[in-house]
Symmetry: C3
Subunit: 252 residues, 3 copies
Amino acid sequence: MPTCNNWGVNGIVTVLSDFGTRDGYAGAMKGVLCREHAAARVVDLTHEIDPGDVLGGAFALAQAAPCFPSGTVHLAVVDPGVGSARRALVVEEKGSLFVGPDNGLLTLAARGDAWAIDRIPPEWDPHPTFHGRDLFARVAGRLAAGAAIGDFSTGKVDPIRIGWDAAKGDEGEVVHVDRFGNLITNFAAAHPAQAIAIGGTVVPRVRTYSDVARGELLAYLGSAGWLEIAVRDGSASERLRIVRGAKLRARR
Amino acid sequence: MPTCNNWGVNGIVTVLSDFGTRDGYAGAMKGVLCREHAAARVVDLTHEIDPGDVLGGAFALAQAAPCFPSGTVHLAVVDPGVGSARRALVVEEKGSLFVGPDNGLLTLAARGDAWAIDRIPPEWDPHPTFHGRDLFARVAGRLAAGAAIGDFSTGKVDPIRIGWDAAKGDEGEVVHVDRFGNLITNFAAAHPAQAIAIGGTVVPRVRTYSDVARGELLAYLGSAGWLEIAVRDGSASERLRIVRGAKLRARR
Amino acid sequence: MPTCNNWGVNGIVTVLSDFGTRDGYAGAMKGVLCREHAAARVVDLTHEIDPGDVLGGAFALAQAAPCFPSGTVHLAVVDPGVGSARRALVVEEKGSLFVGPDNGLLTLAARGDAWAIDRIPPEWDPHPTFHGRDLFARVAGRLAAGAAIGDFSTGKVDPIRIGWDAAKGDEGEVVHVDRFGNLITNFAAAHPAQAIAIGGTVVPRVRTYSDVARGELLAYLGSAGWLEIAVRDGSASERLRIVRGAKLRARR
């Protein structure tokens, strides 16, 4: 167990899910957070992850969570395996805690120690289709209120990790398509690509959108720390008819 | 009037509407809440209820509100009758208060005493198309700040109730279709159904998603307390082409 | 510089963007706000502005911001010119501050003094495609924490203003189409129109929705302070196939 417990000092609990909001399920999780920790400061990250898209949820969590102050508790639930034998986790990263299912959702954002949530009060009896409300939100709320990880865990585990590796050579792929139709690649910031070939198109690398004319394609170092492909004031995804997983080739 | 007034002690005010967020109307309601009660802790439930779908709003509110601690104030506005003679209400449920129009929106979640909001300062003069901002948010903010119900009401009324009854026999119906395409039915938890027939399909009852193979239909006791029909890692609504109101038959 | 600094006293920071929520970008901005100002009370206005729709963002901000108490800090980012030479701004309005790009987004809501953000610590080094996270959120968080505008600005500037003028005669236009399909016009509250002609249809002016039958068109003074055209329990935009910019003629 960590000897230093400073999470919860700021009272912030972020919430991410694939629940949407219109059915009240996301609201139910937030209610439980407030019930378990009366002073919680709940901040929505998103509830619009595509249903069951664990990788998409992991991407969003990895964008947002590092911006929060140390001591934040992050509750994240994209959980197609709910009710099965998949484990529940608390993962630490730089003094912040992440609570959610053991399916890779947490581990792009949190690469530190991971504990199995395997020690919950029997009276909780979580509903087999809604651990977000009955298990994860309760644990997250209590951790934010100052509980110890050991209150809910008997020990560390090796979590499932998903995601992508940085391209080692010039063969890469699209790892995320964002709302603007920008294509996030697995070419890391230090990659020396001068252009990226995608389908039959070669996209030159520049600094930012305004370096090309409106409607033109560009490649650039994106804010997530990876090379991206975009259309200025447009959608590269629509223009190139590209979805996650498309193959790329860097040109030096 | 209730002799005990403990709402507002936690400062939480939840907000539910069919306004979406992109026009700023939901933001306007939250601004008024903050203006009326500087220390309000505003928590969004949803603003994505289908326009005018009172029953859908009632379902969402009934999922989320019971999870919040006692003393919460819930502001809910799905109000196609705004500006007409429909009444405005405060309804109590287990020490929490619900504020909104008298059209059934509140009464799935709140089954306690109801008061008409019929005593507002003349200078408020609510705009006839936006009581959410000019009436309901003001009352909710002030109640959260510790005002008495009697400050806004001359007495109790019998509110409009909508929704569904638990199926008494084996004839039931779909009362809600959620984001995942799960079909929530009006067969209550205690119903002895071993399977549910819908259209030409008979769906067996199991415990949770992982009890069937991916892509298979299942019936199970849902987290809302009703039997549900789902497709594991898929959408029962799309598979079966089912919308709210579809008829069902339980098999024992 | 203003001699009186009362913003931040309430700790409220609102956030508006065209980022959606599913990529984590909006969450990242909120994380930075919390990092810069541990006690910030973050309130989402919306992240669902159409990508790059500065005018749509300005409309939403102008609906919501005036409802918040004086002293609020409003962070608004719809920023297709990010990374170019476009200026960054702080604009004051009745004791509240607005932080965002100088493209007209802020100036429907805030018509007071404007300062250029031209004095930021060199180590901030904002990413050229994400000033929302690396510049605007930082400035907004620090202003909410009590920083002076002069900490980030060397002086006042004349901001870009967009939007519409109130129709002076009987020729008007649709300036916004809202979620309900209501058409907001540029006929001001005092305009003596008795009806509005749109396409081949003449829509009579009444007080509110319930003054016409379900499915009927109506014109009325909307909650935004402009005449609007709606269909009771329906969508005027769909019925009339109207988008922003459509021409109108008032009938007296």
